[in-house]
């Protein structure tokens, strides 16, 4: 883990892009960004019951002139795949920020299948992918991703890699599941 907090630069980019709505399903990796955005009076947080509400919610908000961002864990990507069709056909800007599990030192095997499939699944649906591995690059990566999403009406995902976030510890390092 880095000494720099990636959520600080990410929030600066989000604010600069004029994001006013943060649709999310919480994740431990997201919690610093959710807390930071929660303190920003310009951003309305909307907690979702299911990630697939996200693309539809952001499409409706965009119709009304309100730019939003969808933030969720990698497992949630599996829940929202068909709803990406709505953003694709309507060419709705759809920026997503996905905190990754199942890829770097993961100790919960249930996170691995979906986590490993995220890049291929999103790419297959036409989502443009950005990777965030170093906290120092958070602002620049988010700037680029949000610029592409709104500037060219694209579906875009920033994958915040588990190498940056750190793996959740369930047992001593190196120990195998019982």
């Amino acid at each position: 883990m880095s000494a720099v907090d990636w959520s600080e630069g990410a929030h600066r980019a989000i604010a600069r892009a004029g994001i006013r709505l943060l649709a999310h399903v919480p994740d431990a990796g997201l919690s610093p960004l959710l807390a930071r955005c929660g303190r920003d009076p310009a951003i309305r947080p909307v907690g979702l019951a299911d990630e697939r509400e996200g693309p539809a919610l952001l499409a409706g908000a965009w119709l009304g002139g309100l730019p939003g961002l969808l933030a969720c864990q990698s497992s949630g990507v599996g829940n929202l795949v068909n709803m990406l069709g709505l953003a694709a056909v309507g060419r709705f800007p759809l920026p997503m920020l996905v905190t990754m599990r199942g890829e770097w030192g993961e100790q919960n095997p249930w996170q691995v299948p979906m986590g490993q499939a995220v890049p291929a699944v999103l790419a297959a649906m036409g989502v443009r992918l950005f990777s965030l591995e170093r906290a120092e690059e958070a602002e620049a990566v988010l700037d680029g991703a949000l610029g592409l999403a709104f500037g060219s009406e694209q579906m875009v995902a920033v994958l915040v890699r588990q190498r940056l976030l750190g793996a959740k510890r369930f047992r001593a390092a190196g120990a195998s599941p019982p």
Partner: protein, 196 residues
């Protein structure tokens, strides 16, 4: 053929009194119903994204608190989007209303029964979630009062209208979602120039 209200007449009554409200129709029969009532820039029709109509309506309602937003959708689509009743209730959006045109079947796929045919009460689910206004509508005499609720009652509102299941002429809405998006944004004064 089953007992119930004339869905096209109900949607036409809503459209006639729409005023500045924005109408969003979920996929299948509700989209054809809204198209049959006459196309308009304040209307949006979905051809896919099943289960997303409620959430899309929520997004629009949050963006435009100055406008009434009414989502029209079927019982099958509503059942797939059930989680959004919780999301909507938690957001306490006063300008959002949901009309479920409940015929008890998946009409586009051969008329297979939905859970409402087994008695699932969607208005009851919405009430339990915290919607301040819910109504089950089954008689034509209550229709105008139900339209009043959809357009004026403090939201979120859910009206579950029991409609008949019978073949109706297919009236297709515009197929180009991008055009529908741009024309609604133009009506709302949020055209592409301001977005770029």
């Amino acid at each position: 053929m089953s007992a119930g209200l004339d869905r096209r007449a109900l949607v036409a009554a809503l459209v006639e009194r729409r005023g500045s409200a924005l109408l969003l129709a979920g996929l299948g029969s509700p989209a054809w119903d809204l198209a049959a009532a006459g196309d308009h820039p304040q209307h949006v029709h979905l051809w896919g994204g099943m289960g997303g109509a409620f959430a899309m309506g929520l997004g629009l309602a949050l963006a435009r608190p100055d406008r009434r937003v009414v989502v029209l959708t079927g019982d099958g689509e509503a059942l797939m989007g059930l989680a959004s009743l919780a999301t909507i209730a938690a957001q306490k959006v006063r300008n959002l209303a949901l009309l479920v045109l409940d015929n008890g079947v998946y009409g586009e796929t051969g008329g297979q029964p939905t859970a409402t045919a087994a008695g699932v009460d969607l208005a009851g689910v919405a009430a339990a979630a915290g919607f301040p206004t819910t109504r089950r509508l089954s008689s034509p005499e209550q229709e105008q009062a139900a339209v009043d609720l959809l357009l004026e009652a403090p939201g979120p509102v859910l009206v579950q209208a029991r409609v008949e299941h019978r073949p109706l002429p297919l009236v297709l809405p515009p197929e180009d979602a991008v055009t529908e998006k741009r024309r609604l944004r133009a009506v709302l004064g949020v055209g592409e120039a301001s977005a770029r």
